[in-house]
């Protein structure tokens, strides 16, 4: 019997703000433990939360971008539970009047697109961080993360394979980065993902009992965890066992999911309206402003790169995978008007260098004018494409202009026929036999002679010019001998 997985994803992203969601504490990483805290985010009695406007506008931007219906009235609720990383014993979240509902995200799948419905996009605050002592009987709490603004994006169970889950996450991250609302860095915890998965016989439409899978720290881990979980559930059903509704943790070392044995007595959070925050009436102009200011989204930009710049689909896709790269590409175009050549360099040597150094193009020392300058030197024949490959590395390292590197290192290509004339004569004189071979019709012989000239000029000769000079000289010689 063939089964298919039914998957829904809950993604939490940390919104890019400088201060926390309900207080003025800084959101930056790296402060000493508990140094970014105040009475509000420590949950001191009497402290009052006040909503960060940028957290709200950023949330609206996301809701608009995924086509959600945004409520006119939004309220916050208290989600009650006890855990040492939660100083108030409740988390300020949203419940029955969330920011927005009923959106969708189109994802790329082999052979086309698939629409994954988005159930809701809502705001909530983060909890603190617990650190466990190895082997000890204490845990330690750092509340710097407490009260950080989070956006929760919940999909409907429309995802039907681990691969689709991976695509969904990739495309969602791309969108969020274009919207400039979050860094979406899973390693730093600014993007987290939990998955709900159940299985059913192919062709059926009902939903089975689901397991919630947590503790994945990369998109790959999400995919692997879902692959494992799918097989585990299939095996259970095939051996006549039932699937239990439970939370399971991904163990990346053993590559399995493990049931969380904790007595999580069926979550009963007793949500109730947060009395410290009055309901928000969202004015339409606020929503419209975010809608109007929406940047060009990845899909549209990719299409434009292909149509306006004549780039192959593959190039357009790669260049638009990061907003930063796409912006950089367009800046280069302002200085050098050959899109495909810029694309080749960015996707080739430049990205090779950046990947090796784990840098982004903006963090490198290569400026768009710099790259354009180098490409112009190649076009003018001053340097060869091969030389340019060395020069670009130096530019990426030092940020120096191509022209400066060329003259400092004496790298300019020799196209001057006077100098090449002399060297070519010498090479022909010393390789009589090869020269004759060429005249007898062996084209390879000419390549050998060109190679010799290149060697003598330490690679600085312009091969095209050398080729022409040698060919002229040899055929002229033959003419003289024949005469």
């Amino acid at each position: 019997m063939a089964y298919e997985p039914v998957i829904g994803l809950e993604v939490h992203v940390q919104l890019k703000t400088v201060s926390k969601m309900f207080c003025g504490c800084a959101t930056g990483f790296g402060g000493a433990p508990n140094s970014h805290t105040c009475p509000v985010c420590l949950g001191f009695p009497g402290a009052l939360p006040v909503l960060n406007q940028r957290a709200l506008t950023g949330s609206i931007r996301v809701a608009v971008a995924v086509g959600c219906k945004i409520s006119d009235k939004i309220t916050f609720h208290r989600k009650n539970y006890f855990y040492p990383d939660l100083p108030k014993d409740y988390q300020i979240s949203q419940y029955d009047e969330p920011l927005s509902e009923h959106g969708h995200l189109k994802i790329k799948i082999s052979g086309g697109e698939k629409t994954i419905r988005i159930k809701r996009v809502h705001m909530e605050e983060d909890a603190g961080k617990l650190i466990h002592e190895e082997g000890g009987d204490s845990s330690f709490v750092d509340f710097n993360r407490s009260g950080m603004p989070l956006l929760e994006i919940v999909s409907e169970p429309d995802i039907n394979s681990p691969e689709e889950a991976y695509r969904y996450l990739t495309d969602l991250k791309l969108l969020l980065r274009y919207l400039d609302v979050s860094d979406c860095d899973m390693e730093k915890g600014s993007l987290r993902c939990d998955a709900n998965i159940s299985i059913r016989k192919k062709g059926e439409t009902g939903l089975g009992t689901k397991a919630e899978v947590k503790n994945m720290n990369s998109f790959k881990a999400v995919k692997s965890a879902l692959e494992f979980e799918f097989e585990r559930q299939v095996k259970r059903l095939e051996t006549g066992e039932r699937i239990v509704q439970e939370t399971r943790l991904w163990d990346p070392d053993r590559e399995i999911t493990v049931s969380m044995r904790s007595k999580e007595e069926a979550h009963d959070y007793r949500y109730f309206p947060e009395p410290d925050l009055v309901p928000f009436m969202l004015q339409n102009d606020l929503i419209e402003m975010e809608r109007k200011n929406l940047p060009e989204l990845p899909g549209a930009r990719k299409a434009r790169f292909a149509s306006a710049f004549g780039l192959p689909e593959y190039d357009a896709e790669v260049l638009t995978q990061e907003k930063e790269t796409a912006d950089y590409f367009e800046e280069c175009l302002g200085f050098y008007d050959k899109p495909k050549i810029i694309s080749n360099w960015l996707m080739g040597d430049v990205s090779g260098y950046l990947n090796a150094k784990n840098l982004s193009v903006r963090n490198s020392k290569l400026r768009p004018q710099g790259l354009a300058g180098l490409l112009k030197e190649v076009d003018s024949g001053k340097i060869s494409g091969k030389m340019a490959k060395d020069i670009i590395i130096e530019m990426l390292d030092t940020g120096e202009d191509a022209g400066v590197i060329i003259s400092e290192k004496g790298l300019a290509q020799i196209s001057d026929s006077g100098e090449l004339d002399k060297v070519s004569e010498e090479v022909i004189a010393e390789n009589r036999k090869t020269a004759e071979d060429f005249l007898k019709g062996k084209d390879n012989a000419l390549m050998f002679l060109v190679g010799q000239v290149m060697k003598r000029t330490k690679g600085k000769a312009n091969p095209a010019v050398v080729n022409r000079i040698l060919r002229d000289k040899l055929t002229k010689k033959q003419g003289e001998e024949d005469a």
């Binding site: 400088v18 504490c25 508990n34 309220t75 009436m281």
Partner: protein
Amino acid sequence: MSIKEEKVRYVARLARIKLTDEEVSLFSRQLDGILGYVDKLNQKLGEQSRIPPTNHPHTASNPFRADEVKPSLKSEAALANAPQKRGDFFKVPRIIEE
């Protein structure tokens, strides 16, 4: 609506409040009385005047704050009332969750 003792025990457990048997029976009766009164109000008002739940008595509109960093507490101040601490951390009994 009436409140059974079982429910009181359940809510007390959710709220981590320890109640004696006497308290459970006392609170059941009291809560029962309060909810009975609400029931009576609902009956009196009837369906024609269904009032939407009020989640806030205030009519203030949208008090926001700009996204600006304000000084935080010094760690010493933040930790001043901590029953237990180590370095700049709050120290709590180990939480085991597997």
